[in-house]
Amino acid sequence: MTSSPTLSPDPAADQATSPPRRFDPLAFARKHRTILFLLLLIAVFGAVNERFLTIRNALNILSEVSIYGIIAVGMTYVILIGGIDVAVGSLLAFASLAAAYVVTTVVGPSPVSWLIALGISTLVGLAGGYVHGKAVTWLHVPAFIVTLGGMTVWRGATLILNDGGPISGFDAAYRWWGTGDILFVPVPIAVFVLVAALGHVVLRYTRYGRQVYAVGGNAEAARLSGVNVDFIVTSVYAVIGALAGLSGFLLSARLGSAEAVAGTGYELRVIASVVIGGASLTGGSGGVGGTLLGALLIGVLSNGLVIMHVSSYFQQVVIGLIIVAAVAFDHYARTHKA
């Protein structure tokens, strides 16, 4: 940060130049609340059960997180423009099942079946997301409604595709994407790291990223500043669709089968990751870093509850409550800045 010399005693501007204030524990806690809560959870789970704090379990958590974390990177963009996408779980299932269908019944055994599946799954997701984006920008239907419709359309299409049955029988190269590792790092984690890094860099360092923030910050001002708002909006839905497709491919490779019920409830986890990560649902503020923390927090929480033998039904209750609490806290922090 460059700090330019202050020319005048403008009171509003002065606030930001005043010398670093003494350490304020409350402000610190407020600023780093997500990571502090995450560390607290890890400490509690670690103290309660010795199986929690193991490398094996950590990789397990991260692999779980990676699958929906990849989509959460895309959701960061969607929420940044002030949008929402609740169709990601269904689109994931449709894209991965469509890809698996083509690979197993149309193409047959092939040394590059993984590549074909990866390509198809991602492209189908991209196309689905593009349709969502166009519906939002052309038909002026609110994004929530468009993707709520999409949620059941894609799920239904998935069930039609193979009569609701799973598709399996992938070769070793295909399975490697879900179960293999690169230098001891499971492949899904590596892909997640790559996607997150790319997502962060684009948002932080490119003109496109700036325009995403601008559209979410004030769409009318963005338009009057020459930003192609419709393009930005359509593109973020297309990107999250592609990421849902990619994630679906990894999930099918991990499970060894593409299932019609795959990704059920993912929209919740993904949106929760972004929101817990501190992004504003009205758009314009947030980032990939926060989303990573949010995704990790949910992953740690689910895993810890499982290890403590809390029923998965109860987990849903906890995650739901945490989302509401995160947003409530965010609102509180915003309105009580003082």
Binding site: T6, Y205, R207, N218, L224, G226, V227, S285
Partner: protein
């Protein structure tokens, strides 16, 4: 008999004394015109009467009783003071009857008695002679009809004083006639009306008495019958703060912007002739001021030139080449830039840094491969305009929302200047900013003109239009009524054109007829 007596009322806002010992006296059954330019303090006074603002000092007596300045707005309504603002306070999804009795619906067994509600509403509407269906949802009514609902609502509370803020600004001439008939009827019932309007011909035809305000002060009052429109204009203009009139830098260059018989695709007002076949020229190095009342069509025209709204016919030419504008992006690429009227809603990204706010449209040339932003170059750009415009800010990373209005406006000017436009449109360049910053903004516009930029300035402040413009084009109800030399134009002359569509040069005694 006096109904309302305002005496020595003052009100200050941070940095501005909006009202300074103002007085106003309104008699029973009197239609009283409250006159003054934009910023004269009429709105503040109205808001004090309706209890939206609390006066700092002074006494307001209503019907012989002093009003408690700390009254809630609802209390004033119950006392019989109703205010009809330009923006109506109606619920579009509710029916006429529901809006009239909102919160005071007749009840039976604790539930709303719908039958009585409808009957009461119909009876009152009938009594007032208002042709409205009590069951119609307000969203389906015309502006004029919604205004009638507001009047009917006021009468459900037995209003004895109805304040109307620019009631005819959005009405067609037939609707204006009908409104005037309604007001005459109210008057016959002993209801008083405060009529705020810039349309002096209406005031002359309609009102009994007038009070003129200027710069937050009381100027004069009297019987409308005793004055001519010219006299009212003279009382309204003239101000304590004068801007320096800009010195022309030389003869203007060739025509840069040419608007030829342009008509919008979706006119904001359905009135016939509104923004039809508009023509306008701006030369290099010339500042053309667009004068007119709020809603006269100046901003709508600016948005057409900037590609923000679509045109139905006509052409916009830059350097004699026709522009195809589908969005502001096309206009910016061609070299046309606009600083919008509403800084907060249309200009600023309030939570984002000054740097991001200023550089947004200029990022492409600052980026490798058009995408990878060179942040050092970006900071240099922002720093350049910080120095050039003397923006007072702690750091480029400060959110723009933390700056004062004047500094925000400078950042937005910097945003436009960074694109080195051929044509710059500035809509209300100094609205809501302090006087020192106003002069600085005027200087910036003057400097840009000296560099050959063709500039259009829209301002509702006559003094500002006169200070910056080489040429002044006056709009009235979507029509260009005058094209004047900036050096010889007078405030009186402009005001007369704006209010009546006719200049003051007309021979004395000639009737000023509204168009």
């Amino acid at each position: 008999m006096t109904l309302l007596d305002v005496s020595q009322v003052s009100k200050s806002f941070p940095g501005v004394r909006a009202l300074d010992r103002v007085r106003l006296e309104v008699g029973r059954g009197e239609v009283h015109a409250l006159l003054g330019e934009n910023g004269a303090g009429k709105s503040t006074l109205i808001k004090i009467l309706s209890a939206a603002h609390v006066a700092d000092e002074g006494v307001v007596t209503f019907d012989g009783q002093p009003l408690d300045p700390r009254d809630a707005p609802l209390r004033r309504q119950q006392l019989g003071i109703a205010t009809i603002y330009q923006e109506f306070n109606l619920f579009p999804e509710l029916s006429v009857a529901e809006n009239m009795y909102l919160g005071r619906e007749p009840k039976r067994l604790g539930l709303i008695d719908w039958r009585r509600l409808r009957a009461d509403a119909a009876a009152l509407l009938g009594e007032l002679g208002l042709p409205l269906d009590p069951d119609a949802p307000v969203s389906r009514l015309t502006v004029a009809e919604q205004q009638m609902v507001e009047i009917a609502k006021a009468m459900t509370l037995n209003a004895r004083l109805i304040i109307m803020d620019e009631p005819t600004a959005a009405l067609s001439s037939r609707e204006v006639d009908r409104l005037h008939a309604i007001i005459a009827d109210l008057k016959a019932r002993g209801v008083s009306v405060i009529y705020v309007s810039h349309r002096l011909a209406e005031v002359k035809a309609m009102c009994d008495r007038y009070t003129v305000m200027r710069d937050g002060r009381y100027v004069a009052s009297g019987d409308v019958a005793d004055v001519e429109i010219d006299d009212m204009v003279r009382l309204m203009v003239g101000r304590s703060v004068e801007f320096f009139r800009r010195a022309r830098s030389g003869p203007p260059g060739p025509v840069v912007l040419k608007v030829e018989t342009v008509t919008p695709k979706r006119p904001r007002l359905a009135a016939p002739g509104y923004l039809k076949d508009i023509c306008l020229e701006v030369r290099a190095g010339e500042i053309v001021g667009l004068a007119g009342l709020v809603g006269a069509g100046r901003t709508d025209l600016a948005r057409l030139i900037f590609g923000a709204d679509a045109i139905a016919s006509g052409s916009i030419r830059l350097d004699d080449k026709p522009l195809k504008l589908r969005s502001p992006r096309d206009a910016i690429r061609a070299g046309v830039m606009m600083v919008p009227e509403d800084r907060k809603q249309q200009g600023c990204f309030l939570d984002h840094s000054i740097r991001r706010n200023l550089s947004l449209p200029s990022l492409k040339p600052l980026s490798r491969l058009g995408q990878w932003i060179d942040e050092r170059a970006e900071r240099d750009l922002v720093e350049t305009y910080r120095l050039k415009l003397r923006v007072k800010m702690a750091s480029q990373e400060t959110p723009i929302g933390k700056l004062s209005g004047g500094n925000q406006q400078k950042v937005l000017l910097g945003r436009s200047m960074a694109l080195a436009p051929r044509v710059l449109i500035v809509d209300e360049p100094t609205r809501g900013i302090d006087i020192g910053a106003k002069a600085e903004v005027h200087q910036v516009l003057s400097d840009l003109a000296a560099q050959g930029v063709a500039i259009l300035v829209i301002s509702s402040e006559l003094a500002e239009v006169m200070a910056v413009s080489d040429r002044i084009v006056v709009f009235r109800e979507g029509v260009v009524v005058a094209d004047l030399d900036g050096e010889t134009a007078t405030e009186e002359g402009l005001m007369a054109y704006m209010a009546t569509g006719v200049g003051r040069a007309s021979p004395p005694g000639m009737e000023h007829r509204p168009q």
